[in-house]
Symmetry: T
């Protein structure tokens, strides 16, 4: 049975309440529920924090052998955090970056991802659906 | 029955033969076969050209009502073609950008996509699998 | 009798159907008809292509002595094509650049024209009317 | 009867005397005479000043209802004046920017116009003829 | 017997007629004739097109085993085409870049070659003679 | 009765002790005391943390209906934190940015504020007095 | 009794009439009236001009001993005028910069203030209220 | 007898009173007196204004035949005024740029002179002495 | 007896396990042990955290008089954290920056250190040995 | 009989011993021997120095009439030396730039050549063979 | 017995006499004496030159087998010399870069070291003490 | 009696022979003769070298007390040499920079002088006359 860790960064706890024209009205809890329902045979763990260092702690769990892959939506830290990048680069399991909105169609500073180059790949702008697609890609890889 | 057009740009006809350490050994024909097999209930059309203007002609078919969505891998034109971008922007149906390799982990000039801001979203770095994920996202949208 | 060649680049075949809030609802055929009607004593030829190299072929006709001037709307190639620029620079007859929308009031990448420095002048943002003004300027020059 | 205000900025009072290889030998008075002669049914007012603030005062007349459009050649202030730009942006009537020489084929610092994005359009590099074309475009708009 | 393919890009069909102060009065046919005469024991094929995608098609012939090396003058595409670069990078046989004029002594945008980094080397500014030197280098390599 | 939350970021707990030539000798506690004294009819809450994520938690309290406005001095995170910016952008109540020193007269990297564009306004360089002026502006707005 | 000079630059004479969605409907006369009413014990002088040099003349009055401080809204000159900056730098009395709109949330070229580094501080985006807050800060300083 | 016009721009009327650590304690009147005394056989005229357009008017006097050369200290306009540059470029008599302080050793924005490229030469950082050296160079040229 | 605080930032808890080709196989505990052994007469305290704000808290201990110097390896925050920089700048005791790998020979974004300019000095690329050299320099300073 | 001077700059005395994966195992003496053997009817002189000024002295010999052309590999000075560039620009005989490795495929700072714009042309990345090709081009020119 | 070569570049012969507020009053001879005294069992050679090419000659001695490591303070050439960098890159023995002052806390152009990326590491800002620390690191490496 | 050292850098030995349209036909010897003739009561020493380090040696003579001032034309090193700059900065006697041509009206890379900020001032574009003016300024200073 595959084990996937899904990590969400700053302000994603507001999903569904914050700028719904950009992020939609689905909450993070809804996302968690529907992803788990879609993959009944995958063991999925959800984590969210606003604190950069706690996210690093979470990513470092990927070194323990407890997971087969990570889905990471680092929110605003995507564009500024060398420290989060370094944590990802330290892992041997695949990490897929997800963004709900199309960050490449927004402000200039959202167009650079420090994290993308050390991930296996990215899924951007496909809404909450992106989490499902990422899990699917990880499960298939891990088969 | 959904109808999806998958457009591939310059040098993708070499897939499987060209720089396999980056692009893998799957050919474009393999991709076409496996995508069609995976979605037996979707009508999928494949197109490839090395010529920028012919790709624009293909994208403009999206105005005819003949398709419900487009998957576009514009290859090297992704980073330089305002004309391809304008063709995409003219459409009312959704377009999803796909790249086989993780373009954000390669040369500097591959990090800017002129096309991403006018697409619905992007799937990057997940290999040939990215085409399947894109079709899945379009089908669901189009339901 | 003066002879003028009017060349239109990528996506201008969609004029009137594409993003009408930016480009208006006049079609390219309407433009052709009304320009010809306004200048009954000028021999005017219209050409459109989405393919960069075919536009270069068309511009190179300006070396044959068959035309007294060219009106060029290079569309999206305006901002990226050194090759189109070189074709214009090779001519001895005057070329006037036309853009329907005010490209200087849109995205950053539309603010640089590689073609403007080798033209006699530019007419920008005056809608389809710009074609008439360009022909008028060429005819007067050519008297 | 249409009323058009034509505003000329710094050093245009030297037209015909200054660098004739670039600007030609027509004087500003010649331009005024020939524009008025060409449009006998349009009420045309000419203004010139070397002082940035006086040009702003002139542009602000466009708020009074006394004019149907403005033709503006802001000379050297084109490239540096946010204040002139703001004055144009405050107007509700159309403003067309004119430059006698092809500013895009000259020094680097002449390639950026702060004023173009808030005008209806620009006519560049067509000599004194550009004033006539601009008036023609405004009159047609205003019909 | 060595086999060399010489590919010429946009506007090189005008060689000898276009801006002779920069490019000289030798035509492309003269170049072909004199290169073939100089290397009677090498099988040399000449190709020219203004269309970016057709040049890519020509470069892709280098994968077929039919040639031992390519001489490429990509003209204006040299500075803008990621797609041409990708086609070159896909080859296993050596490619040498040639420019007739000294592109480093001309406009700023001609100073960057996207193609040079994936070629074996470059010969620049030595006129039509550059084609001969490139063939000589390829033949020696291929011995 | 109006309720205002005043949030202070990293190193502001050192106020009065740290680089007094730049920041003065008033402590953060002094600021709190004097602001509360000046506005006896406003309910004011003070918060300080060095941790980026805890500041985001504090800003997110602005979604609860418990406050009518926020005064935010994000210290060093002002110039680097997309995550703090996103938290501010998620709010519907007004936020005013305050800086004690004139950040525009200091190092280059302090001249860009990622936070300013999503605030209602900024008060910069007026010392601890800036907090009082910000509260005054919020109270008046909120009336 | 404190004496404050409030200087307003180009286009601020249009306040209330110009782009009211950005600048509000209060006129400059309204601002003057309400600031004077709020500070009956301060001697306040208002000045406005569209001419850069006249604003410099006004700022130079700050050397005469006639004023205890200056409030300066330099409008469009804020971003381009080294000469206004030099005039401010020559003074020994404090100058506070005011902007009615949040210039940091608008066009790119409005984000740099040449004047801010030589002022005591800035108040930005708080509407006409910003003038009152600036006077309050100067009066307190001057006590 | 040679005739020289010496033009001084914004804030130079404050010379001797403004930032004496940078500009010294000599007043502009002292400069005028000592230059005239040093060159009793040269007819020297002094002019100062803070208004950009009035400086342009003064420079345009150089077209009248009334002067053999101009010494120009354009102050803060040196770095921002295309319009002053154009006025200088229109002249046929030599213009020498003078700056009292070493502008190249000060802020970044003072390091670019728009005016220097159209002058005969520049004298920078030699204090009020620079005016004398400039007159000497012009007189010698004019012999 | 000298007292030195050694602070380690994000991901340094993984030392020895993470990318050993870059960072070697020594663990942070090994470093601590060997530094303490080498300096038996210095009181050395080790601290590590992944959380930016907690590192700031640790650095602020340098204001308490409890330490004579700090050795700081801020990891990925080195390149992005103005807040950490401000904490260092607030101290009166010397801080020496240490990096285990040669950050100048790696990715572009690792070449800028925001922290270096406010430290006494830096030791880079000498492996775990760098910690010993830094302590030696601090002890000598403090003598 | 043609006379050619071949000048080699810093570190080229190490050729064959230094980084052979980049520069090959041929020594500079081997190059000299084989070039002279290939052109028995050309008088060829070799010079190498690590000192920038001595290279300038060598290049200045090109003014004496003793040589018909120069082949210059300026090594690391290629990218930084305005002084070497000026020496080349002073010559009337042709200079061809040679680089053994493909400098365009290496570090960013090797991509700009200050010398290329003042040479007749460049030959790059063709190994020691490049010297022969350069001599051949010079001899033919000089005929 | 280990053998270390210490190379000092331009102006370091002035150490102790030049700008003592930045560089201290220790002379280079003092440094040499104290380093040799501290490491009686290491054979240390000192070299200084102002000439770039002579420094390259000195560095090239590191290819002879005569030394186990080099300490290099390249002074002003650190920031500009590709040629010195290439000489270092050619060596197989370790090189450690030393700077007496904290170059990162000084002018902008001192912040980039071309040499650092090809050294084993750097020691910056620790005064003459830096030379001792570098020798210690080399000796340990070489053990 | 004043003693002045005049130092000339690379390629100035070619003065009069090199690019006379830019530098005139006066030789360096003519300059020396006429400067000495003009100032019979000043002891003037001339020095020229193409070698950067020898120029530094010459500048360092300014520390010996043997000279009252230096006139420095560093030629092409002006724009690239931090080492020459450091040598000038080490002096206590005044140094005046001279350039014969107007370097600010030439190529982009000649517009930055690393040396100007540490000199007392600069004289640019006044031909060989500039040396005389510089000596005059130094003599007057030194009185």
């Amino acid at each position: 049975m595959k084990r996937i860790l899904i990590i969400n960064g700053p302000n994603l706890n507001l999903l569904g309440k914050r700028e719904p024209n950009i992020y939609g009205s689905t909450t993070l809890y809804d996302v968690e529920t529907s992803v788990k329902k879609k993959f009944p045979n995958v063991q999925i763990e959800f984590y969210q924090s606003n604190v950069e260092g706690e996210l690093i702690n979470a990513i470092q769990q990927g070194m323990s052998g407890a997971f087969d892959g990570i889905v990471l939506n680092a929110g605003g830290y995507t564009h500024t955090s060398v420290a989060v990048r370094d944590a990802v680069a330290a892992l041997k399991i695949p990490v897929i970056e997800v963004h709900i909105s199309n960050v490449y169609a927004r402000e200039e500073f959202r167009k650079q991802s420090l994290i993308a180059p050390v991930c296996q790949g990215s899924i951007v702008g496909l809404g909450a659906k992106g989490y499902e697609l990422a899990v699917e890609a990880l499960v298939e890889n891990a088969s």
